[in-house]
C-alpha cells in the first residue's frame, strides 16, 4: 500500500483545526510523495514517541514558532495539510545544526527531513520558497558560476552593517590586503580562492546533470539567465584553451 493512500490521521480523525483544504487533495499527495520518494526518507525517519528531546535541544525552537518534533510527527502521521502548512514558513526556521539528529533516541534526523521538505518546496515553486530565497541570489550567482560560495568582495559594510565599522582593522584596499595573504591561491577578490577554469566548467556540468539549474530556473528565472550567459562564456573560453593546446601540440609534431 502506498503511503499516499495510508494517511492514518487524515482518515481516522481528520485535521481538527484546518478550516478547509489549502490545496486539492491530489496536489497535497503529490507533494508528500515527492518528499517520501527521496532515498534518504526512510533513513531519516524511523518512528517517534513524541519525547521532544529534539525540540528541547533545538536552537531555532528558542526563537521561532518551530519544533523539530512537530516536523517528525507531521511526516510520521502523514498529515498532508500539516506538512504543506509547515512548508510555508516553519521549515525555513531550522538552523541545520543536526543537534536533533545526534540526540534522537530513534535515530531520526528532523534536520535532514527539513532538507527534503525544502527541496520539495523549491520543486513545487512555492511562493514561500521564492520569498525566503530572494536574498540568496547573490550567493547563488557566485556559487553556481564560480564554484565558490563566498568571496571577499561580498563582505562589505553595506551588506554586513551589523558586523561593525571595519571589514578589516587595517585600512588598505581589499586587493592589496588579499595580495598580502601568504597563500597564492587566496590573492583574489571576486572568489574566495582562484578557481581553475576547468573546475568551474565541470561544476556547471554537475549542476546541469543533477537538475539543479532546473530548480534555479523555477525559483528565479532572471538569475538563471544571467548564470547561463556567464557559463556559456566560460565554456567557450575552455574550448578555446583546448583548441590552442591542440594547435600547439600539433605545431610541435610538424
Amino acid at each position: 500500500m502506498s503511503h499516499a493512500e495510508s494517511t492514518r490521521v487524515q482518515t481516522v480523525i481528520g485535521d481538527p483545526v484546518a478550516e478547509g483544504a489549502p490545496l486539492p487533495r491530489a496536489k497535497l499527495e503529490e507533494i508528500f510523495a515527492d518528499i517520501q520518494s527521496d532515498l534518504r526518507f526512510d533513513h531519516e525517519l524511523n518512528g517517534c514517541l513524541n519525547c521532544g528531546i529534539c525540540t528541547a535541544t533545538c536552537p531555532a525552537a528558542h526563537y521561532y514558532d518551530f519544533s523539530p518534533r512537530e516536523i517528525v510527527q507531521l511526516l510520521w502521521t502523514e498529515n498532508l495539510e500539516g506538512i504543506y502548512d509547515a512548508m510555508q514558513e516553519k521549515i525555513w526556521a531550522c538552523a541545520q545544526c543536526y543537534t536533533c539528529a545526534a540526540r534522537c533516541p530513534f535515530g531520526n534526523s528532523p534536520g535532514g527531513l527539513v532538507m527534503l521538505m525544502r527541496e520539495t518546496a523549491i520543486k513545487h515553486q512555492m511562493p514561500s520558497a521564492k520569498a525566503v530565497l530572494r536574498p540568496f541570489s547573490r550567493v547563488m550567482l557566485k556559487l553556481i558560476s564560480t564554484g565558490n560560495q563566498l568571496a571577499p568582495d561580498m563582505i562589505t559594510r553595506d551588506h554586513f552593517a551589523d558586523w561593525g565599522p571595519n571589514v578589516s582593522k587595517i585600512d588598505a584596499p581589499l586587493k592589496l590586503l588579499r595580495q598580502a595573504i601568504p597563500m597564492p591561491t587566496l590573492n583574489t577578490t571576486a572568489t574566495a580562492w582562484e578557481v581553475n577554469l576547468k573546475t568551474s566548467v565541470e561544476l556547471y556540468t554537475i549542476w546541469e546533470e543533477t537538475g539543479v539549474l532546473k530548480q534555479l530556473e523555477g525559483i528565479d528565472e532572471n538569475l538563471f539567465d544571467v548564470i547561463n550567459d556567464i557559463m556559456d562564456e566560460k565554456r567557450e573560453d575552455w574550448k578555446d584553451f583546448l583548441a590552442d593546446q591542440q594547435e600547439s601540440e600539433g605545431g610541435k609534431d610538424d
Partner: protein, 445 residues
C-alpha cells in the same frame, strides 16, 4: 550512641552490598550521567566502511587509501571504532568561508605544516563543497552533493601527477566543518545506494573523473582539526609563548560531531572521553586552561540561511547562548573553534550587541590560529588577525605580544607587497595543476 534515621520507612533494610557489588548495582547511574550516552544509546548504527570494503571487493568502487606513506595515526571514534588520520602528503581542500573571510585560518594551518615539514598541495582545481548553499537554500540535491564530493576527491587523487608524481600521492584534508559533515553523510548514502552510485557514475564519467571506470571513494574523510589533534604534541613542542594563564573555551562545530557522529573522535584522556576530543586536546597540549561552560553543546547560530538573510537570529543566539555564557560562567579569555561558520558567527556578531545593551568582548580564533600565534607566527602576516572583528588585540596583550608593533610591521610590509615582493608559504607555481597558465613539469625550466 549516634542517632541515625533514613526517612525510608520501617520496611527499609540496608542491602549491605560490598563496594564492588554496589558499583555493579548502580552502574546504570553512571551510564545515565555519561554525556556521551546521549549520542551512543542507539540501536541501529552501522560502520559504512564495512560496506565500502565489500563494494571494493565486488569490483564496484576503488578506495583511496590512507597508506603508510601518509604516516597515519590511529584514533578512536565515538563508538570506539578505529579511524586513520594521515599526517603528511596532504591535499588541502579549502573552505570558501575561511578563504573569503578569515584567511588567517588556512594560512595558519599551512604555516604550522611548514614548521613541521609536512608536504602538501594547495591548488586551484577544487570547488566549494556547495553544502553551505544547500543547507541554507535547498538549492541542490543529493546527486549534486555526491557528484561534487567525488569530483573534488578525484582531483585530490590525481593532483600529484602534475608534479610528475603517482596518483594517490596526496590525501585530501578537509578544512571546513560543513564540508566534512556533508562529505561523510554523502559517502554513507553512496555506499548504501546502488541507484545513487549509478547516477553519479554517469556524471563522473562525463567529467573523466572515474578510476578504471569506477567511482573513487576515500577510505576516511578527514578534517584538519583531526590532523591537529593527532599532531598536537609536536605542535606543543614548538610553543614559544606561555599560555598557561589563558582561560580558553571551546566551541565544537555541529557539523563536525553531530553529523555522522559515529565518525567523530573521542579520546578517554580528553574530558574523560565524554565530549569531542579535537581542539580541546590541542588547547590542553598547548597548556591553556580549558574551561567548561553550560552551553558547550549549543550551536553557534550560523544557521546557513540565517547568517545571510536572518541575522537577528544568528546574533541573538551567538551572543546570548555562547559568548555571554563563556564570559559570565567561564570568565574566558578566548573562544576557540574549528569551523568556518562558527568562527565567523561568533567573531562578527559581538559588535552589534551594543545596540541592545548587551556589550560583549571575547576574542574568537580558530584552533590552528591560536596554535600558530603561540608558536611564534606573525599575528598579521600569518594569523591575519585584522580580519577578525572581535578583540584579538586583548588576547595578544594577555599573551605578551606587542600587537601595535606587529601591526606597524605589517603596514610597512604592505609597501613591499605593492612592489610585488610578497612572502608566500609555498612556491606559487605549484598551485596550478592544469588549464590556462599551467606548465607541465617536463616543460619547466
Amino acid at each position: 550512641m549516634t542517632e541515625r534515621f533514613t526517612g525510608h520507612g520501617a520496611e527499609w533494610r540496608d542491602s549491605n552490598l560490598s563496594p564492588s557489588e554496589a558499583k555493579i548495582a548502580t552502574s546504570w547511574v553512571e551510564q545515565k550521567i555519561d554525556k556521551r550516552s546521549m549520542l551512543t544509546n542507539k540501536e541501529r548504527v552501522e560502520d559504512v566502511r564495512d560496506l565500502m570494503w565489500q563494494l571494493e571487493k565486488d569490483g564496484e568502487i576503488v578506495v583511496h587509501r590512507v597508506s603508510d606513506e601518509h604516516q597515519p595515526v590511529m584514533v578512536k571514534t565515538l563508538y570506539g571504532w578505529d579511524k586513520k588520520i594521515p599526517t603528511r602528503r596532504l591535499w588541502h581542500h579549502k573552505s570558501c568561508g575561511q578563504c573569503g573571510n578569515i584567511p588567517g585560518y588556512p594560512a595558519s594551518l599551512l604555516w604550522l605544516m611548514n614548521r613541521l615539514e609536512v608536504e602538501y598541495l594547495d591548488e586551484t582545481d577544487q570547488t566549494s563543497c556547495t553544502a553551505w548553499n544547500y543547507h541554507g537554500s535547498g538549492i541542490g540535491n543529493l546527486e549534486s552533493l555526491a557528484a561534487v564530493f567525488l569530483r573534488n576527491f578525484h582531483q585530490a587523487y590525481v593532483s600529484a601527477q602534475a608534479q610528475g608524481l603517482p596518483p594517490a600521492y596526496y590525501y585530501p584534508l578537509v578544512h571546513c566543518g560543513t564540508s566534512f559533515g556533508n562529505y561523510k553523510e554523502v559517502r554513507g548514502y553512496l555506499l548504501r545506494s546502488a541507484k545513487l552510485r549509478e547516477r553519479v557514475r554517469q556524471i563522473l564519467g562525463k567529467l573523466g573523473r572515474l578510476v578504471d571506470g569506477k567511482l573513487l571513494i576515500p577510505e576516511e574523510v578527514v578534517h584538519y582539526s583531526e590532523w591537529l589533534h593527532v599532531i598536537r604534541e609536536r605542535i606543543a613542542a614548538m610553543r614559544e609563548i606561555d599560555c598557561s594563564h589563558i582561560r580558553a573555551t571551546v566551541h565544537p562545530a555541529c557539523h563536525v560531531y553531530k553529523m555522522v557522529p559515529e565518525d567523530a573522535i573521542y579520546d578517554d584522556t580528553v574530558l574523560g572521553g565524554n565530549r569531542l576530543a579535537v581542539t580541546t586536546s590541542v588547547m590542553q597540549a598547548l597548556g591553556t586552561q580549558v574551561i567548561d561552560y553550560s552551553t558547550w553543546y549549543d550551536c553557534c547560530g550560523f544557521g546557513f540561511r540565517h547568517i545571510i538573510s536572518e541575522r537577528e537570529f544568528t546574533r541573538s543566539f551567538a551572543i546570548d547562548r555562547k559568548i555571554r555564557v563563556a564570559i559570565d560562567e567561564a570568565q574566558a579569555d578566548v573562544m576557540v573553534g574549528h569551523d568556518t561558520g562558527c568562527i565567523t558567527t561568533l567573531d562578527k556578531n559581538q559588535w552589534i550587541g551594543k545596540a541592545a545593551g548587551k556589550e560583549v568582548d571575547l576574542p574568537v580564533l580558530a584552533d590552528c590560529q591560536f596554535a600558530a600565534l603561540v608558536c611564534g607566527a606573525h599575528p598579521y602576516k600569518i594569523v591575519q588577525s585584522h580580519w577578525h572583528a572581535s578583540s584579538t588585540e586583548t588576547l595578544m596583550e594577555k599573551l605578551g605580544i606587542d600587537w601595535e608593533a606587529k601591526k606597524a610591521e605589517f603596514v610597512g610590509y604592505l609597501e613591499e607587497v605593492k612592489a610585488g615582493k610578497q612572502e608566500n608559504l609555498y612556491d606559487p607555481r605549484r598551485m596550478l595543476t592544469s588549464g590556462p597558465g599551467f606548465i607541465p613539469i617536463s616543460k619547466r625550466p
